[in-house]
Amino acid sequence: MSRSERGASLVAGVLRATWALTAVPLFAFVLALIVGAIVIVLSSVLVLKNSFDATLPISAYLALAQGAFGSFNAIVSTLVLTTPLLLAGLGVAIGFRAGLFNIGAQGQFLMGAVGAVAAAVHFQQAPPIVAITAALMGGMIVGAFWGMVPGLLKAISGAHEVVTTIMMNYIALSALAWIVSGPLQQSGSVPPTTPSVGVAALPIVLGRTGHIGIFIAFIAVPLAWFLLFRTTRGFEIRAVGANPDAARYAGIKPRRLIVLTMSIAGLLAGLAGACTVLGISHQMNGTFSTTVGFDSITVALLGRSNPIGVMLAAILFGAMRAGAGPMQINAGVPVELVDVIQALILLFLIANVVFRRLLRLRGVRGSEQTGFETITKSYGREATV
């Protein structure tokens, strides 16, 4: 084989590998947009009683893109909304790599936010740098604890993390309601809210809303990649996920690793919660309504549990959130369409077996855990994809 031929076959190989990795997420996204377009037209005609307009989806998507990337401030708001999705998504992705289906990012996110507020309130008299650090640490520690508990339960008794993390989500919701109306209530606030984070608020460094949490999230991407692919601990995490029996044979202790991985996942989701409360809302109420924790599962899946893929998926979801408002204003399509598209993406991702058939992608037996495998294994033992 000549040098140029070898070069050509190398390029072809890289392209093939990239295609194999990105084909399914890409098709899921495109299909979701197409079905979303049908929903836009139908709901406009049937619900809003408008006349039929075939170009409405295009103007809606254009308004969405414009709202997400059309100006400096639009981009900043996209990044602000990307931040918690990215951090929590990385946590879920690391769990997937270890074969763990962590549905608890939502609870870890909420408790991380609580931890950050508690630390912020406690350090009100300290200089901002100390208060901010303490508040971020508080979020990470409480989030990590919230992730560690299901990890411990699994390691000790084998309780499935899907069940325990869902339960921890409910506990987090109730705990939040109690904490806000009890130990951390701003005296006299109706409805009850926590005091403001005050000096621990994250400084705004980009535009009107761009807090430094954005940088924390994007720095976490190479760190997570480095952890997974360059350290022995990351190798252990991936080994346990890909083949727990072989990992045990290799001298790895799967139980300890499960606890560690769940703690890391909780830490990242907790940091996401801390960044949200310290960077955006500055205080919490009893409901603190958000779906970041659940969206981050879709983000991790869409990114195939690869930190770089997770980053791209988080930006996409952040952009959709940022563009939803402008879309409603400029194209008259309700913001909820974004939820529809996200749900469709998840649906098409899970149905990836069908795509693989259609795209003639070879299903690989015992492949590395990128999320789909973890889910199919969790629910249907050894369901071969």
Binding site: T231, N243, D245, Y249, A250, R365, S367
Partner: protein, 508 residues
């Protein structure tokens, strides 16, 4: 099949292969792992599309685009790993996909039962149509697989290593069945590595090497040695020269070992064993008599219920797999996909699976990709692992090359003890010869070797001493050079006490 060619990136799996099959013929297909047998059969069964060439049935070219086309033309395949549903009955498995209905809602089970009895009767074997698959022996399950193909009226049967999982007795039964099928005018393609079996059963033998047909022989006009040479491309020693052993001090000492299986039943029931450095001790036994559990206990993967294990004078009872690994114990597990390899990981990671955490492969928490790759390149070369690159996933390699990967990793360095569970299962003669030579080399370098194998010939060929395992105990020790195969076989089946009740109990 005429001029079949199939190319995969970087390799020609089939290179203008011609193969003809007569009615009523048993045609053996012989070749090393990765020679292209499986690709060829996948093309015949419609699982792969050839780049060139054509398939003719009864002289007419046919297009086989998928397994359903193949089945419609009477081509059936029995895979090495059975495709049966354990919780369903024989009849339910057989009719699966081909159900005869009594009415639009219910299956016509009595019709299915009748046809199954007829077919079984016609070809001279017994099968209860209502037995659950999970209650059947492996041999009986294989007969169900074959019955399934007959139920669909197969005219061409492809059997992929049908004897790999069978005991000698079961193999004989399958052979009788295959001969009856051939007498009935059906054609059989028999894929195997085992030369003796091929010579016994086949009417014609086609040898494939590196995607090409190398030769065709009739059993009457060839020998095992010639076939092995055709397969591998050079003269092969079918039995390695084991030479004299020079046992040193006691290396492994097992006292009164009891181990439980996954269901909590005691399956190793008081094993006493000593292995000296520079000595190979083989354990012979019918599968399921506690060999696997004994081995897993020795390497720390299974809890010891009672008893002690000493390695070189140190008590290693109950220590972790890593501690045992650090004591320079090499372990080749019986199930290479479950324990031996992480199939999704590249060869590099698999070659350092038990040493990834220490220098030179890691410095502190940091992995050293360059050192790992360099070591992988060395091992791949030294152990002749055939692979396009060290970065491909282990699952892309053939079984023999996967096994070499494990051997390359576990035989590395100054091993004190090697625990080998089925080290050559499913491998071709060339790979077996290679691994056997390495085992002897290890012994001569002073390593204590424990060999567990379902292949009695392998135990007899390599072992300096043979221990027979029966129902969780080592019932007899024999000299490996003088032991008689029939005697060992009898001990395996009866545990030494020739009592008919006992023998039937072991078989069930």
């Amino acid at each position: 099949m005429r001029g079949i060619t199939k190319r995969y990136p970087g390799v020609v799996a089939n290179d203008h292969i011609d193969l003809d099959l007569q009615p009523g013929e048993i045609h053996a297909l012989l070749g090393e792992n990765g020679a292209g047998k499986t690709t060829l059969m996948n093309i015949l069964y419609g699982l792969a599309v050839p780049d060139e060439g054509e398939i003719l049935i009864d002289g007419k070219p046919v297009n086989i685009a998928g397994p359903s086309d193949a089945i419609a033309r009477g081509i059936e395949m029995v895979h090495q790993h059975f495709m049966l549903i354990p919780v369903l009955s024989v009849a339910e498995n057989v009719v699966l996909g081909e159900e005869t209905m009594a009415n639009p809602v219910f299956l016509d089970k009595s019709e299915a039962r009748r046809r199954i009895r007829d077919l079984a009767g016609k070809f001279g074997f017994e099968l209860d149509p209502d037995a659950k698959i999970e209650s059947l022996s492996v041999g009986a399950q294989q007969r169900v697989e074959i019955l399934k193909t007959l139920y669909r009226n197969a005219q061409i049967l492809v059997l992929d290593e049908p004897t790999a999982v069978l005991t000698p007795g079961e193999t004989e039964e399958i052979f009788t069945l295959l001969r009856n099928l051939a007498k009935d005018g059906r054609s059989i393609i028999f894929i195997s590595h085992k030369l003796t079996e091929v010579l016994e059963i086949a009417d014609r033998i086609t040898v494939i090497r590196r995607g090409k047909v190398i030769g065709q022989r009739r059993p009457s006009e060839t020998t095992e040695e010639e076939l092995a040479e055709l397969m591998v491309g050079r003269a092969v020693l079918l039995t390695v020269e084991r030479g004299e052993s020079h046992p040193g001090e006691v290396r492994l000492k097992v006292e009164g070992l009891h181990v439980k299986d996954d269901r909590g039943n005691e399956i190793v029931r008081g094993v006493d064993l000593e292995i000296h450095g520079g000595e190979i001790v083989g354990i012979a036994g019918v599968a399921g008599n506690g060999q696997d559990e004994l081995v897993e206990a020795l390497v720390g993967l299974r809890r010891v219920a009672a008893g002690r294990i000493h390695l070189g004078g140190r008590d290693i009872t109950g220590v972790s797999p890593r501690a045992i690994n650090e004591a320079n114990v090499g372990y080749v597990p019986a199930d290479r996909h479950r324990f031996g390899l992480i199939l999704a990981f590249p060869l590099t990671d698999n070659l350092v699976l038990t040493s990834y955490y220490k220098p030179p492969y890691a410095h502190g928490q940091l992995r050293d990709g360059r050192a790992i790759a360099a070591a992988a390149r060395d091992k791949v070369r030294a152990y002749d692992v055939r692979t396009p690159s060290i970065d491909v996933a282990a699952q892309t390699l053939s079984g023999g090359n996967q096994q070499k990967l494990i051997v390359a990793r576990e035989f590395e360095g100054d091993t004190t003890l090697l625990v080998l569970d089925q080290p050559t299962r499913g491998l071709d003669v060339g790979s077996i010869e290679f691994i056997h030579k390495r085992i002897i080399e290890k012994r001569d370098a002073g390593t204590a070797v424990l060999l567990v194998s379902a292949e009695l010939d392998e135990v007899l060929e390599l072992s300096d001493r043979i221990a027979v395992m029966y129902r969780g105990k080592l019932v007899a020790f024999l000299d490996g050079r003088t032991a008689d195969k029939n005697d060992v076989g009898l001990l395996m089946a009866t545990g030494g006490k020739v009592a008919s009740a006992d023998a039937s109990g072991a078989a069930s």
